[in-house]
Symmetry: C2
Subunit: 401 residues, 2 copies
C-alpha cells in the first residue's frame, strides 16, 4: 500500500471501492424493474457542507468505479485501453485508476475543490449489479435474463445512488465515450440538477460504422459456443475466444491507423524474415492484439460487455427526446456544456461533437467545443490528460474561454 511519501504529486492516494445497496427498485426504460441493485463507487476529495461541489465521473464500456488513485486491493484498473495506459498499468503495478491523470489535487477535476464521485455502471461486472449478479428470482446469476439496458437506465441508477448520499445537485457530470453519453443524458433528463457537463470523445448517437463494430464484437461473443446462450457462469467455461476477438476489434477502433503505424510499423515478431506460419503471430502488431485479447478476457465479463455495447449503440438523443431532431432533444438543457474531441478519433469523430455544439449554439445555450489535434485516436480521452486539463479547469472555474 502506498504511503504519503511515495505518492505521485497530485494523487488522491490509496482508495477503496465501497458498495451501497439501493433501497428501492430501479425502474428501467424497457418497463422492467431491477431489485436489488448494489452500486460500487469511489469518492475523492471532500463534500462541501452545502453539498454543491460534487462531480460525477462516468466510465466507458469496460470501466469501473476505480477512476483515480491506487487501489487498496491492488486489482487491475480496467478502462486504460491505449498504449500509454497499458504501459502505465504495467509499471505502476498497483492499479492506478483509469482517469488518474485527470482526477486529484490540482488536476482537471481538482479534488482540492471538488468532491468527485465515480460509480461502476448498472450492468457492470466490477461491483455494481449486472448480468453476473444473482437473480433473486432464481438464486442463480442473471446471465441472459438480465434486462437490456439503456444509458438512461445507467443515469437513473446514478440518480438513485446519489439520493442515498444526500446529493441533490451536481456541479458537473463528466466522462469520455460512453461516459460522455451519460453526461449528455443527465443534462437532458435532469436539466435543473446539473450545472455543467464535460463531454469528451463522445457523441449524441453512434454513427453506423461504429454501430457495425459494436455489432461485430457482440456477434463474436455470442457465436462462441462457450457463451452458452449467456449461461456460462459456473460451467467452468467462458467465451474467451469470442471475447478476445471482440476486444481486438474494439482495440483497433480505439486507436488511429497512424498510431498503429508509429508504434508497430510492419516489424516482424522474431526474425529478419517471415516464418511461414498462419497460426502464430509473425508481426508485432499481431502479437500485440493477442496480448490485448488475453488480458481483457481475464478481467471482464462477457455479458457485461454485451450489455454496455448494446446500450451505447441504442443511445440516440434525437430519437429518444427529439422525434428525430437533435435540437429539439437539447431544448431543455440548462447545463453549461464543454465538448472536447480529438482529431484522430474515428470511432467518435469530431463531427459528432460539432453537431452537438451547433445544436446547442443555435438554441442559445452556453457551450464550448475544443478540438485537440492528437494522434492516438479514441484513446486520446485517456491519454491526452495534459492537454485536456487546462481546458477542463478553466471551464469548471466558470471563466469564459
Amino acid at each position: 500500500m502506498a504511503t504519503a511519501s511515495t505518492l505521485a504529486a497530485g494523487s488522491v492516494g490509496t482508495v477503496e471501492t465501497r458498495h451501497l445497496d439501493l433501497p428501492r427498485p430501479v425502474r428501467l426504460e424497457s418497463g422492467r424493474e431491477l431489485h436489488p441493485v448494489r452500486v460500487a463507487y469511489e469518492t475523492y476529495g471532500t463534500l462541501s457542507p452545502r453539498r454543491d461541489n460534487v462531480i460525477l465521473v462516468c466510465h466507458a464500456l469496460s470501466g469501473d468505479a476505480h477512476a483515480a488513485g491506487f487501489s487498496a486491493t491492488g486489482t487491475a484498473a480496467s478502462t486504460r485501453d491505449g498504449f500509454g495506459a497499458d504501459d502505465r498499468d504495467g509499471s505502476a503495478g498497483k492499479a492506478l485508476g483509469w482517469w488518474d491523470g485527470m482526477i486529484g489535487p490540482g488536476k482537471a477535476f481538482d479534488t482540492d475543490h471538488f468532491f468527485v464521485v465515480s460509480t461502476n455502471l448498472l450492468g457492470g461486472c466490477r461491483g455494481t449489479t449486472g448480468p453476473s449478479s444473482t437473480d433473486p428470482a432464481t438464486g442463480e446469476p442473471y446471465g441472459p435474463d438480465f434486462p437490456v439496458l439503456t444509458v438512461a437506465d445507467m443515469v437513473e441508477t446514478q440518480r438513485a445512488f446519489l439520493d442515498e448520499l444526500g446529493i441533490e445537485r451536481l456541479a458537473a457530470v463528466a466522462g469520455g465515450s460512453l461516459g460522455g453519453m451519460q453526461a449528455l443524458e443527465w443534462a437532458v433528463r435532469y436539466p435543473d440538477q446539473v450545472d455543467d457537463i464535460v463531454v469528451i470523445a463522445s457523441t449524441h448517437a453512434l454513427h453506423p460504422q461504429g454501430m457495425a463494430w459494436n455489432a461485430i464484437a457482440r456477434e463474436s461473443i455470442m457465436r462462441d459456443p462457450d457463451w452458452q446462450g449467456g449461461r456460462y457462469y459456473g460451467t467452468g467455461r467462458i467465451p474467451a475466444a469470442g471475447m478476445g476477438v471482440a476486444r481486438m476489434v474494439g482495440h483497433v477502433t480505439y486507436l488511429s491507423a497512424p498510431a498503429l503505424h508509429d508504434k508497430f510499423g510492419r516489424r516482424l515478431q522474431f526474425a529478419d524474415d517471415i516464418r511461414y506460419t498462419i497460426t502464430e503471430p509473425e508481426f508485432e502488431v499481431e502479437s500485440y492484439l493477442r496480448h490485448q485479447a488475453d488480458s481483457f478476457v481475464r478481467r471482464f465479463d462477457a455479458n457485461t460487455y454485451l450489455t454496455m455495447s448494446r446500450a451505447l449503440t441504442y443511445f440516440d438523443l434525437a430519437r429518444q427526446y427529439g422525434d428525430g431532431s437533435l435540437a429539439k432533444a437539447l431544448e431543455g438543457v440548462l447545463a453549461r456544456t464543454l465538448l472536447i474531441t480529438f482529431s484522430s478519433d474515428w470511432l467518435y469523430p469530431p463531427v459528432a461533437s460539432e453537431e452537438i455544439h451547433e445544436a446547442l449554439s443555435t438554441l442559445g445555450k452556453d457551450v464550448e467545443l475544443h478540438l485537440i489535434d492528437a494522434p492516438y485516436g479514441h484513446d486520446c480521452f485517456l491519454l491526452e490528460e495534459a492537454r485536456q486539463t487546462p481546458i477542463v479547469r478553466r471551464f469548471l472555474s466558470g471563466t469564459p474561454a
Copy 2:
C-alpha cells in the same frame, strides 16, 4: 443459359471455368514444393496469332476465375463484395463475373482486342489447388498441412500455367487489392515478360491497421472450435461462426463510414422503437452484416481465407526485393504502370499508391496515378467501373495521359 439476344451490351456471354493440371511441381518461397497443382481458369476474347495480346486479370481475397460473363454452371460469383455488387448478383440470378463491368467488348479490358485470362489463385477454393484439395501424401484434404503461401507463389503458379498455354509475354497484368499486388509482383519478378501493369486499390505493403484487421479475421476463424485446427473437412462441421465474424470485419473495412451512413443510417430494423434485445438485430446495419456473414460462409472455404489473408499480409515489396527500400525493389521494373486509387478507400489508402508512384517516378519509370474521388471505400475497385474504364482503355492503348 443466356442466349445472344438476352446478353447485355458488351458481355462476353456465357463462359465455362476450365481446368489445367500443371506438369511440374510448383516450387514455393517457403522451400516446399506443391504437386499436383490444378489451375481453374477462364478466358475471354481471342488469342492473337503472335500471342501478344494477353491480359492476365488477378482476383482479390475471396475471388475466383469467373471474372466476366455469365457462368455456364450458374454458380454464384464470388468477389462482388459491395452494395452494388451484391445487388447485381441478386438481380442477375445467374452469376455475373466479379469484374464483368470491366471485361468485355468495348470495356476497359476490351475483348475485341485482348485475350483476357483469369485464374483462380493458388490456395483458392474454386477449382485451383488449395487447402481443401487432396494431399497426395495422405489421400485426405490438406487442411493445415497446405503450405503457407506468398503472393510470389501465386504469381509463379500463374507463370507455370501460362507456359502451358504457350503464352510467354503478357500485354498486361491487372487487378485490384490482392490482385494489384500480383500485378506488382509480376512486374518485379518478370520485368521482361510484362508490358503493362494495372494496379487498382492496392499497395506495395499493407499498413499496420490493415494487418490488424486481417489478423482479427484469421483469429476469429481459428478460434472457432469447428475449425478443428484446420481439419474440418468431412466432419460435418465448418467454422461458420468464425468465418461469419471474419467476413463482417472484412466487409466493414471494404466500405467507407460515409457509405454505411448513406445506406443504413441508424434506421431500426422493424419498428419505430427499440425492442430491447441483444441477440437479435435492432438496426438495419446489424441485419445487413449478418446477411453478409451467412451468405459468405456458404460459398467460401475457411482455410483458403486464412491462406489468402496471410499472403496479402506478408506482401511487402521493400522487404522482399529492396532490403527495406521500395525504390530499390522497383529498380528493375520495365512495365508501364497504371495506378488507380480511391479517395474513400481506407484499407488500401491513396497514400500507398502515391508511394509507388513516387518511387517509380524518381527511378524515371513510365508510371501514372489516378485518384478517383468516390465514396464506396475499397469496394470502389469493383463498383466504379464506369470511371475506371476510360483511364484503363487509354492507358492500354499506349496514348499518354
